[in-house]
């Protein structure tokens, strides 16, 4: 017997979409933080404000990562 999600083609597409989105959660959190840090360090080196913009942008990156995780989770639960 095939599992419940694989019975209908539409269900399968939904399941694949959900799994694909869920697989991005981990990396989204890390990459957002790294982008924030890199952006802050670059701005610091240009504006000579080290290390303040690095702190601020890292914090924004962490928040962006969490918001991205919330968005992905909301998207998955809306598709179901």
């Amino acid at each position: 017997m095939s599992p419940k999600w694989a019975e209908k083609p539409e269900d399968r597409a939904k399941w694949i979409k959900g799994a694909g989105l869920a697989s991005t959660i981990g990396i989204a959190l890390v990459v957002s933080t790294v982008i924030g840090y890199a952006l802050g360090s670059w701005l610091d080196s240009k504006l000579h404000t080290a290390p303040w913009l690095m702190f601020v942008c890292s914090l924004l990156g962490i928040i962006a990562g969490f918001i991205e995780v919330f968005r992905i989770a909301a998207q998955i639960s809306r598709d179901e």
């Binding site: 694909g20 991005t24 989204a28 982008i35 942008c57 924004l60 962006a64 989770a73 909301a74």
Partner: protein, 234 residues
């Protein structure tokens, strides 16, 4: 094989893949029949219709118009991953320069589709966020979130294919070292073979993931309105 390949080698390999795929598609569409009798045309039509179903299943009704783009991405990435398994050749996707370029193409295209579908104003308002007075805070956060997508796409593909190739090299080298230490008069053993079989599978999965995420990002971008309601919930 060096750990860090020259970018020109990767560009050359990628060009080779493009030439191969061009020849393949010219041959596949050379003498099209309305009711295909050749197995070749049947097989290619099967692949195209499978891609069509897959993409419209993710994007929703009307998603077929994105099949040319997402399907090309899938076939291109799959061929680039698999070409690394041919002895003497190297997978272009095992270098960051190629994967970043592909992710940037995807990034530009899904934003373009989003702007075309929902209009520039709505696309920009989405970047500003829901309560407008929070825009100075939400704008950089959304920009970082948007930039995270192409970066995570490229790093995922690069990491998987680079790791796969590195394991193949290590396994192949291990047999040579083992045989020399024990003074067995055999040049080398194909110890990397089981991993190569597995690499065919992972190459397919990575190409599928890349194409699927492209389709998902397009789906999210063209359904800009629903995204707003999601924000309110989140």
């Amino acid at each position: 094989m060096e750990a860090e390949a020259s970018p020109w080698l990767l560009f050359g390999m990628s060009g080779l893949v493009i030439i191969l795929l061009t020849i393949f598609s010219v041959v596949a569409t050379w003498k099209l029949q309305r009711i295909p009798e050749s197995r070749f045309q049947n097989g290619v039509e099967f692949v195209v219709s499978a891609l069509n179903n897959f993409i419209s299943g993710i994007v929703g009704p009307g998603g077929e118009k994105y099949t040319p783009f997402v399907g090309t991405i899938f076939v291109y990435v799959l061929t680039m991953n698999l070409i690394g398994l041919v002895p003497g050749l190297k997978a272009p996707t095992s270098g960051l320069s190629i994967t970043i370029a592909m992710a940037l193409v995807v990034f530009v295209m899904y934003n373009f589709y989003g702007i075309r579908q929902t209009g520039f104003k709505r696309w920009f308002m989405h970047l500003l966020g829901e309560p407008l007075w929070l825009a100075p805070l939400m704008f950089p956060i959304h920009v970082i979130g948007e930039l995270a997508r192409p970066l995570s796409l490229s790093i995922r593909l690069f990491g998987n294919i680079f790791g796969e190739e590195t394991i193949l090299v290590i396994l192949a080298g291990m047999s040579v070292v083992f045989l020399r230490i024990h003074e067995i008069p055999v040049l080398a053993l194909p110890t990397q073979f089981p991993m190569m079989v597995f690499a065919v599978f992972t190459s397919f999965v990575q190409a599928l993931v890349f194409a699927m995420l492209t389709a998902i990002y397009i789906a999210i971008a063209v359904a800009g309105h629903e995204e707003h309601t999601t924000h309110a919930e989140a």
